[in-house]
């Protein structure tokens, strides 16, 4: 069976929709998480792209497919190159071994999917 064309976009949007209940039932928790994310990924000594590359590496290490999708999309929007993604995944695999390598392939697929979508929108 062929893989769906928008696998990671569908996955991230599904997760976002699923979180809507928590936004309503525990808004302070969700706001706290949002504020944490905003503070942690803002430009500083490390720029936002470098921080998102770290987040992608940790998403792979944690085997979190939705996280891989969100951070791959963020990296596309921040102008990351495929070489920057690949070198980050190299470090991830060095530290995490074979299982990380398997999810590194997912990260590449997610980045390519969002890159292709962005290219087709702007073409």
């Amino acid at each position: 069976m062929a893989e769906p064309t928008h696998k990671y976009r569908d996955l991230t949007q599904s997760i976002s929709a699923g979180l809507s209940n928590l936004r309503t039932s525990t808004p302070e928790v969700m706001k706290g998480f949002s504020d944490l994310g905003r503070a942690a990924t803002a430009d500083g000594v490390l720029d936002a792209k470098t921080k998102e590359l770290s987040a992608l590496a940790l998403s792979v290490a944690a085997r979190c497919d939705p996280c891989i999708g969100f951070h791959a999309n963020a990296l596309v929007k921040l102008g990351a190159t495929r070489q920057e993604i690949d070198e980050t995944l190299g470090v991830t695999t060095y530290m995490g071994g074979g299982p990380s390598l398997m999810y590194a392939a997912n990260a590449v697929a997610a980045f390519d999917e969002f890159s292709k979508a962005t290219t087709s929108k702007t073409a």
Binding site: S16, R23, T26, P27, K77
Partner: protein, 229 residues
């Protein structure tokens, strides 16, 4: 009325509502309230609280462009209906004009959240940054002045245009906070289309859709007011 005043007032309302809420746990309430006529109004306080629960993800060029576009398109609806409200008796114009001001403000809240410039800064009602919106506004106001029936048809036309444009722009948007606001804008536009069509039919007028299919148009008009997401 200068928009600068309007924006400052809105921020005061948002700040006041947040203070009143006390920032405690619990459901912040619906982002949009819908009355029996279908008039769909954003709650600035509830929207601000809801937006605070979303991550601030990076923005694509398409998303930034879309926010600027929708800010002007929603404001155009307000400005046209505000003129009609001074010309014609049915309260639908004043009611939906007031509602559209909150739709435009909701998009402005997103522009502020992403620290993007507001294309309408410093412009009075009826003036737009984009020439195409200015031309559309001028044409629609000219038509609205000719008769009540034509003004109501302009109302249906604007809502139909909004439905087409928001639907198309959603395809290029990933950020969940923007999609949440756009989904509410869409629901509001469907409700406002129903409201204008109801009064138009009562006045003996008819309308042929220009931007969406007849089947989609009929499905909206023949369904009930949408009170929830």
């Amino acid at each position: 009325m200068k928009r600068r005043w309007f924006n400052a007032s809105l921020l005061a309302v948002i700040a006041g509502t947040l203070v009143a809420c006390g920032g405690g746990d619990g459901d912040p309430g619906p982002v949009m309230a819908v009355d029996a006529t279908g008039t769909s109004t954003f709650s600035a306080g509830n929207l601000a609280a809801q937006l605070g629960t979303y991550p601030l993800a990076p923005l694509s060029t398409a998303e930034a462009d879309s926010l600027a576009f929708m800010r002007e398109e929603e404001q155009l609806a307000h400005d046209v209906y505000a003129v009609s409200a001074t010309l014609w008796n049915p309260p639908v114009f004043a009611n939906i004009s007031a509602s559209e001001a909150t739709h435009s403000a909701a998009v402005k809240a997103l522009l502020d959240r992403y620290q993007l410039p507001d294309p309408l800064t410093g412009l009075p009602n009826g003036s737009f940054n984009t020439p195409a919106f200015q031309a559309l506004y001028d044409a629609l106001v000219t038509t609205s002045r000719t008769s009540l029936i034509e003004a109501l048809k302009v109302g249906v036309q604007i809502e139909e245009l909004d439905i087409r444009d928001i639907t198309a722009q959603k395809a290029g948007i990933d950020n969940a906070d923007i999609l949440m606001v756009y989904d509410n804008l869409l629901r509001g536009s469907r409700n406002h289309l129903r409201a204008f069509m109801k009064v138009l039919t009562q006045q003996g007028g008819t309308y042929v859709p220009q931007y969406i299919s007849q089947a989609e148009f009929d499905a909206i008009v023949n369904s009930a007011v949408e009170t929830g997401p």
